[in-house]
Amino acid sequence: MSKPILATTSLAGCFGCHMSILDIDERILELIELVEFNKSPIDDIKKFTKKCDIGLIEGGCCNSENVHVLKDFRENCKILVSLGECAIMGGLPAMRNGIPIKECLEEAYLNGPTVVGNTTGIIPNDPELPMLLDKVYPCHEVVKIDYHLPGCPPRADLIWEALVALVTGDEMKMPYEVIKFD
């Protein structure tokens, strides 16, 4: 039987959730035996080369590109998992949601103490840059998400248990201590 195929991505996240995947430590060598990796920053495959069984999503959507990537994941993965607080509810980046994006840009590029030289008032706007969304959106508001793994980041043990359960079809152990956000 061929191995289940795993893909991962980081949208508007901090990469901490991916670091938590690596925190399964020596089990990463077991994981390599258990699943085949496809598109993922961990392995450097940057485009889907085949349909996948499991997709892990870190981060919510803060720009048009995030949305594009998330939809691409939905299309290519049978099961999608929101990994961590940012994917589940926007997380820290969603703190900008109550504030007009214009104010955020002005603070960063016009008002700070080290943009004194920006006398012509440049704010990045090149066509090469993706569109910022009005808000940061949790993944399940953009596509259907099958499972949520809480935590910021979710603990390595929780990620490991969940992957093993998804791969083997066995019921997942969920002791009280692992079901918390931080």
Binding site: F15, M19, D23, F37, P41, E65, R96, C104, V115, G117
Partner: protein
């Protein structure tokens, strides 16, 4: 779907980092750009939050080196709560933070070397991209993969023991630290079962350097000749000129080693540094004010630190530092691939420092926190694994943050990375109408030397999805390629 999202249709592939190359009439390179395409707005949305939240909030900009943000914010808040500017803490407070920071260096640098750089070295710059990764290493050379995984684990365990949690911990608080090191963790980290003990970590750090020296001897074309351009270098150094990643003064040297920023107090960093905004990238371009935007840019990170520091205060790393200096005739190395070399020397230094600290009784007992007279503004600065990190906060009478300014390490390397891309592209693509896989990899290898943690300014684990577009003089796309 509950809410309406207004989105432009996106046809281009995922790309946090993107390179564009413009050609002139003769087919020569007219311009190259490394675009950074993410924006967060942190400076604005943190306003109004209570100041003591900063160390736990800001670290969520970057899960690869959260400790650096955690500590830089805490150092800025030390100033605000009147606990001095970096050297006013209790011995326990300062040493616990230092141990956390060396643990962070150790894990972040090993992550970069084994997971990101080693694959290029083992499989070659134009090796099979499907193999050029840690999984490829695990299948090819299991021992090396195990070393990489376990060294990173050790660093993460040090962070857990000092910050309470491997990622996004809570150890540092304004004016100090919230706990002691436990006897149990001390014993575990010093003398744990093989390989989790400090002796093994020092051994393996030396072995990694040996691996590099051996590779260097056989591949001078890649390490010495592949990229080479003059740059200035900036970093923190201890007052006596020693390498110090936690506290000190700001120094910058020019490509020849002449000091251009003379060991200044970083509380006034904004007098010396400004950032240029360019329309085509969300990442700003810092420069030394006195010199100006054109040539005032500088590099930061492992290579910059070894280029600015006078010596290293641990014996094994100092020996390696001397070799490094001798190889470069006592001058700064202007070869970005030497970043890898410098990074490995710092891994060894961090291991030696952790050993010193783990044996220090101050970690087990003593006052944790110190407080003095409140002030309304503070700057926290330290050397993150990828380079100098600036945090600057102002608060109001209600203890709310009123202003936040951050210059993250990778932002400091913005211009140097653009220079490196330009050099490699010019060398490999002049007169060519087609992008080859080898060229793509070469551009990536050049960027990767800087270990760009785009997670701070954006995200993506060094291995960024890269899209290269080749345009002719009329901005018509001639070729477009995305790395696999």
């Amino acid at each position: 779907m509950g809410q309406k999202i207004t989105i432009e249709p996106v046809t281009r592939v995922e790309g946090h980092g993107k390179v564009t190359i413009h050609l002139d009439n003769e087919g020569n390179i007219a311009q190259t750009r490394l675009h950074i395409v993410e924006f967060r707005g942190f400076e604005r949305f943190v306003q109004g939050r209570p100041y003591w939240e900063a160390p736990v909030l800001v670290q969520r900009l970057c899960g690869i080196c959260p400790v650096s943000h955690h500590l830089a914010a805490a150092k800025a808040l030390d100033v605000i709560v009147g606990a001095g500017t970096g050297d006013g803490l209790t011995p326990t407070g300062e040493k616990m933070r230092r141990l956390m920071h060396y643990g962070q260096f150790f894990q972040s640098h090993t992550l970069h070397f084994f997971h990101l750089a080693a694959p290029d070295l083992l499989f070659g710059i134009d090796g099979d991209p499907l193999k050029r990764n840690i999984i490829g290493i695990a299948l090819e050379n299991k021992e090396l993969a195990v070393q990489g995984v376990m060294m990173r684990k050790y660093g993460q365990e040090v962070i857990r023991a000092t910050a309470g949690k491997k990622i996004h911990g809570t150890g540092a608080i304004p004016g100090g630290i919230n706990k002691h090191l436990s006897e149990e963790d001390k014993e575990y980290l010093l003398n744990g079962d093989d390989p989790i003990n400090i002796a093994k970590m020092i051994d393996w750090s030396q072995a990694a350097l040996e691996f590099f020296h051996d590779y260097h001897k056989k591949n001078k074309d890649i390490i010495d000749e592949f990229i080479d351009f003059p740059s200035s270098y900036l970093s923190l150094v201890r007052k006596d000129g020693a390498l110090d990643i936690y506290h000190g003064v700001l120094r910058a040297v020019d490509p020849e080693g002449k000091k251009i920023l003379h060991d200044v107090d970083y509380q006034e960093y904004y007098k010396y540094i400004d950032e240029e905004v360019r329309s085509w990238s969300y990442m700003k371009f810092p420069y030394l004010k006195e010199i100006g935007t054109k040539t005032g840019w500088y590099s930061v990170g492992p290579l910059a630190r070894l280029n600015t520091a006078d010596f290293i205060d641990t014996p094994l790393a100092q020996k390696e530092f001397e070799k490094f200096k001798a190889y470069n005739n006592g001058k700064p190395s202007n070869k970005p691939m030497h970043y890898h070399w410098a990074r490995l020397i710092e891994i060894l230094h961090a291991a030696e420092k952790m050993k010193e600290l783990l044996n220090d009784p101050d970690l087990l007992e003593g006052e944790l926190v110190i407080k003095g007279n409140k002030s309304y503004e503070g700057v926290g600065l330290l050397e993150a694994p990828r380079g100098t990190l600036f945090h600057h906060y102002k608060i109001n009478d209600n203890d709310q943050i009123e202003m936040a300014n951050l210059i993250v390490s990778t932002t400091n390397n913005n211009q140097p990375m653009n220079e490196a891309v330009n050099q490699v592209a010019t060398k490999m693509m002049t007169g060519k109408q087609k992008i080859t896989e080898g060229m793509m990899n070469a551009v990536e290898v050049a960027i990767r030397a800087y270990d760009p943690c785009l997670s701070c300014a954006t995200h993506a684990l060094g291995q960024m999805p890269l899209e290269i577009t080749l345009l002719d003089q009329n901005n018509k796309v001639i070729d477009n390629k995305t790395s696999v």
